[in-house]
Point group: C2
Chain length 206, copies 2
Amino acid sequence: MDLPSKYLNEAVEQFASLPSIGKRSALRLVLDLLKRSPEEIDRFSNAIKGIKENIKYCENCGNISDDKKCVICANPAREHRTVCVVEDIRDIMAIEATRSYRGIYHVLGGVISPMDGQGPEDLNIPTLLTKVREDKIDEIIFALSSTMEGDTTNFYIYKKISPSDITVTTLSRGVSVGSELHYADELTLGRSILQRLPFESTFKSK
Amino acid sequence: MDLPSKYLNEAVEQFASLPSIGKRSALRLVLDLLKRSPEEIDRFSNAIKGIKENIKYCENCGNISDDKKCVICANPAREHRTVCVVEDIRDIMAIEATRSYRGIYHVLGGVISPMDGQGPEDLNIPTLLTKVREDKIDEIIFALSSTMEGDTTNFYIYKKISPSDITVTTLSRGVSVGSELHYADELTLGRSILQRLPFESTFKSK
C-alpha cells in the first residue's frame, strides 16, 4: 500500500500493529481521525499517553486501578477469603456482570503457554502463593479459559499451593443455559453427563 | 461496561469513537497497548499527534501530501489535462494499484449527502471548477461511488461545468471480471446489457 505521506504512513503502521486491525482498516481509522479538530486529536493522543502514565495495578490482586487497591479489593463488603483466579480484567468484568460473586479476584495476566513463550514466571502467581502461605484464603476458584493452556495453568498453581485446608474449585462446564442440546459440542455434552448434578440442587438456591 | 480506572475508560472511549469499533473491541485494543513499553506507547500517541500537525493537502488536487503538491501532481510524466474525480484518497490508491491511469486526480473529500448534512459547499468542488474555467482540463472522469449520493454529485458537477469543449466520462459499470453471470445483481446485469460494448473493443487495446 503506497501512501502519499510518511506521517500518514506512520499513523497507519501504528494502528495496524493493534490486534485484528489490518492495514486497510488502519487507514480507514486514521482518515477518520484526520477529519477531526486538533483538540479532538490531542484528546485521543493524550488518552493513549495517559494509560501508561496513570494506570496502576492493584497491589493486592493485579487488577487495573487508579489507586493502590482496586475498587473490589478496597470494598470491605466483599468476602476477602474467597479468591477467583482469572486471566485478565475482561474476565473480572464478565463475572461482575453476572452479580453472582461476592469474593475478590486475582489477575494472572495470562496463562502458561510455552508456544507463545509465556512461562509461570511471566505471570502474577507469586503473590497468590504468598497469600495462600500466609493463610489469608479459604477458597480458590479457577476461572481460566477452558483450553489446554488454561488447564495447564490451573494444574501448575494447584501443585504449588498443595492444598491442605484450602478449598480449590473450578467453574462448572456444561451445556449453555437456554441452548438446544443437539447444538452442544461432544466434549461439553460429555462433561455435563459425567458431572451431572442432583436435580434438586438446580432449583433450591442457597 | 464498568471499568476499574478512569484513564482506562477514557482511552476506551476514544478508541470506541472510531468507525466500526465497539466498546469491547476498544477495550481489547487498549489492553494490548497497556502491555507495551512506554516508548512504544509514546510512538503511538505521537503518530496520532503527527497526522494533524504534519499532514498537508496538495494545493492542486486535495490529495494528502507532505509537500505543497502531492507526488502525482508533481510528476511531469502524468497527463495533467486529464482529471479523475474521486471521493477520498483510498480511491486514488485503488485506481493507482490498477496501473491503468496516467492522468491526475481531484479529491472531493466526500459526496453530496443531504442525509448526513453534507452539501456541495462542504466539498472540494470550487478548485475543480476554477481549473475548468481556466481551460486547464481536456477530460474529467467521474469515479465516485455508484450510489444515489455519488450520482447526485456527478450530476451537480456536470451541471456546473456546462461542458463545451471538455470531455466528461464516468467509470463503466458492469459484471465483475472473473465472476459468474448468475451471481451479478439485476441492476448491474441490466446496465451491462444496455451499455454493451463492441466485442472487438475488449481485446484490441489502444
